[in-house]
């Protein structure tokens, strides 16, 4: 976001188990179509400009593989993304359960930041008759993750589709702003100086982590939302 000023570019990763409808959700949002064909994703990327709260924002969306054999690719896009849509299918309880591990990995990669912009998305809400995950069940999960918002979507009917992208985008923006405000403040000594962990290398070839100073974040506002249709 160093190129701020002109236009903000935010990276969002859509992740979740295989076959929950990540690509359908993304294609519905970006291109306004519903994909019917059997077409598992390996890694696709899209870009879309949207307006959020009166600001123009460029979203770079990474649609990822749900197939577990590709898990070793995860780390790359988790590092890259600013916000995440964690998608499951309301017709499969295990698809929700699998997200816990992903969420943990995200938090860990973001340096232990529990407030990474995340939206929990229960897709296929049009398949009510096959529902295996109750709303309260999913909502409970979203609360356990620090009150992240929960939406139920139908990529087929384009229900709540733009909403989830806008929501995650708004979270990123809020975080971005608070960081900008903070950065104008006085320099403070680095974190983790205790117990022999200061970096004594004369040249540090390593880049600074973006998220490793979470203790300066302003307390996250209380939010507790559950958006269903």
């Amino acid at each position: 976001m160093s190129r701020a000023g002109y236009q903000r570019e935010y990276h969002v990763a859509v992740i979740g188990s295989g076959g929950v409808g990540k690509s359908c959700l993304t294609a519905q949002f970006v291109q306004g179509v519903f994909i019917e064909s059997y077409d598992p994703t390996i890694e696709d990327s899209y870009r879309k400009q949207i307006e959020v709260d009166g600001r123009q924002v460029m979203l770079e969306i990474m649609d990822t593989a749900g197939t577990e054999q590709f898990t070793s690719m995860r780390e790359f896009y988790m590092r890259d993304a600013h916000g995440f849509l964690l998608v499951f299918s309301i017709t499969s309880l295990t698809s929700l359960q699998e997200l816990a591990e992903l969420r943990e990995q995200i938090v860990q990669i973001k340096g232990g930041d529990p407030n990474v912009p995340i939206v929990l998305v229960g897709n296929k809400s049009d398949l009510e008759e096959d529902r295996k995950v109750s709303r309260s069940q999913a909502f409970k999960v979203s609360q356990a993750w620090g009150n992240v918002p929960y939406y139920e979507t139908s990529a087929r009917r384009r229900q709540n589709v733009p909403e989830v992208f806008v929501d995650v985008c708004r979270q990123i923006m809020r975080k971005d702003l608070s960081r900008a405000r903070r950065d104008r403040g006085p320099e403070r000594p680095g974190y983790g100086g205790g117990s022999g962990h200061t970096y004594s290398r004369r040249r540090r070839p390593r880049r600074q982590k973006t998220y490793d100073d979470d203790d300066y974040y302003e307390p996250r506002e209380k939010r507790s939302r559950c958006v269903i249709l």
Binding site: E36, T67, M73, P205
Partner: protein
Amino acid sequence: MAVSMLHTPSRASTSSGSSMLPLNRQTTMSSHDGTRSMRTSKRYSVTALYLSMNANQRDLEIEDDLARAQKALRDLKSRISSQSKKNFVLEKDVRYLDSRIALLVQNRMALEERDEVASHLDDATDLSEGTFPNDEKTQKYGNLFFLLQSEPRHIAHLCRLVTMAEIDQLLQTVMFTIYGNQYESREEHLLLTMFQSVLTYQFDNTPDYSSLLRANTPVSRMMTTYTRRGPGQSYLKTVLADRINSLIEIKDLDLEINPLKVYETMIDKIESGGEPLPPGLQKGITAEQAAANENVQRIIAPRIDMLIEIANSFLDTIIDGLEETPYGIRWICKQIRSLTRRKYPDAQEQTVCTLIGGFFFLRFINPAIVTPRSYMLIEQIPADNPKRTLTYVAKMLQNLANKPSYAKEPYMVKLQPFIQQNKERINKFMVDLCEVQDFYETLEMDNYVALSKRDLELQITLNEVYATHALIEKHSAELVKDESSHLNQLLAELGGAPPQLPRKENRMINLPLYSKWETPIDDLTAALDITQEEVFFMEAKSTFVMIMRSLPTSSVVTRRPLRLERVAEAAATTKNDSVMVRKGIRAMELLNQLQELGIVDKEDNYALLRDEVEQELVHLGSLKEKVIAETQKLDEVFRTIRDHNTYLVGQLETYKSYLHNVRGQSEGTSKRGQASKVLGPYKFTHQELEKQGVIQKSNVPENRRANIYFNITSPSPGTFVISLHYKGRNRGLLELDLKLDDLLEMQKEQQEDLDLEYVQFNVSKVLQLLNKRFARKRGW
């Protein structure tokens, strides 16, 4: 008499223990001979049985080139089996620690958790061998595991019941222990039967076609684990490694065809040249705008051609590798086809191919292409450009297999020619993939063979035994609906499952397996549905083959056509070789018996038997070549697996040292008195480090490299000073302080370059070097 031999304890084929490897054991890996009739397949198996039994009576053992080659191959296979299991376990440990260490490095782990991690590490090394606490338990667990092994439906059922958290442990036990002899047809076939059962269930319980085989389920976990076994590994290596390696060498080859990315790179280049952006070129444009840019189009066009060429070359090797494809993988493709046809009778051929592609390419080939390092195909993580190219190749292959009607990313449409060109080829390939024989016949045979043996056993850890027991117990309500079932009886006898032992008390045991119910088969002919005549015939054939293999090739009687009675006589009169004499006499008896039964005729020189013996010998001749070729191939696989093991062990060692170090520090100042000793300096030449791959790039001119050397010192555990020297000068040119934490963090972030201005070190290799040279007893 022949039948009574079944009771003699024999090693037979636990890992194909016979010195004469029968045909049907050879075929686990690929290419079942489709023409063999059921009858002959039985016959072969019976021959196999005889040969294996005879050969296992030590005094009758044959010692020729073939036997030695086969023995070497067998040993290699069992080493691969056990090594790949070790790696699987180590990988789990490393994965666990990978995530923990990251937190620790960032100083975010609570002290207690730190200790827990450390305890996890303490016994990550080899388990000591031991025995079961008592004989009764040994026997009962032996019965249980025999049942689990020989009736795969129980485990198949269990796989559907367990949670995703439980499944990894279960699959480890199943794939690497219960069916751990990866090259043994019986175990492989039983494992595949289990696959089939789980697969069928999944087809029956997936509501719509588009979600078939998509979710991460027990089946997909099984696939992941299955591809880690020897045959899958060796296939990927043979078919893909060369292609991938030649591709990643060209680090600068940028084949990006996403117009947005191309556009951005173009802009960045202009900007970094210090020039202002020409009018009309702005940032943050849409995909359509980028695609419409003429310069972008000009850059992309040749890249499209190149990508198609590369993808074609991958496709070529995959298609050419049809016969190399592991039997199990092909057989699963076949099951997918028949299940699809059964569930959707109207499904088009294309639909079937799509689903096979959703397995073969999505779960097996493409993951290895996209992340070749995790599949041990390459050593280093590829640079960004080749990595992106590999992703494109995988995407193209997947598109080809699935032929989606809609291109999600519009720019991928440009690659359509690849799909048009190869449509028919790929469909034919998928059909060919499924062309393998079923194994039910041989499985039945193998099970008889197994039952006839007294020494089936499993190498298993106590904790694996207890964990499996606990899982079955937990899900017993679902698993054993029938109170009188064998499984239920065994569970009742065993009582409650013991808790898991601490890692220190865990032991590797040899668990003898036997059935509580079936008794060894007394009547082989009835069991196998063959006649006594055939039994005699088989025994005669195998006896003659063994005699022929033992006779010196210079002997007159080995001339073709064979005169069987002379061969027998020559054997019976061999001097100083009682075994041969016995074989000779037996051969004569058998000839007479067969003559009396009217099966062979002395008048035509026992032509029927003679021809089969001669054919068998020809077959054995070519068998030797095959055995040697296979050994060479597997040698390579073994080496790869072992290298990977070295890497994993090294990684664990590094973590271990690091943890000890951190804990040492947090244990407070009291220990600081016993200041740790300075280690080093150790001297390394430029040449040495270059050879070891520690130096991955050098800016030192060739003619000066001989004068460059490095000193590495460790002033205290976990800290290192690397200095670069030029011969003849007192002071070093450069000095770098390093902390283990930093190196680990760099490694964790996949950052491979450690810049020393004159040279660039490879982070992983530096870690390995430090690990080797500075390993202190407790920490570094």
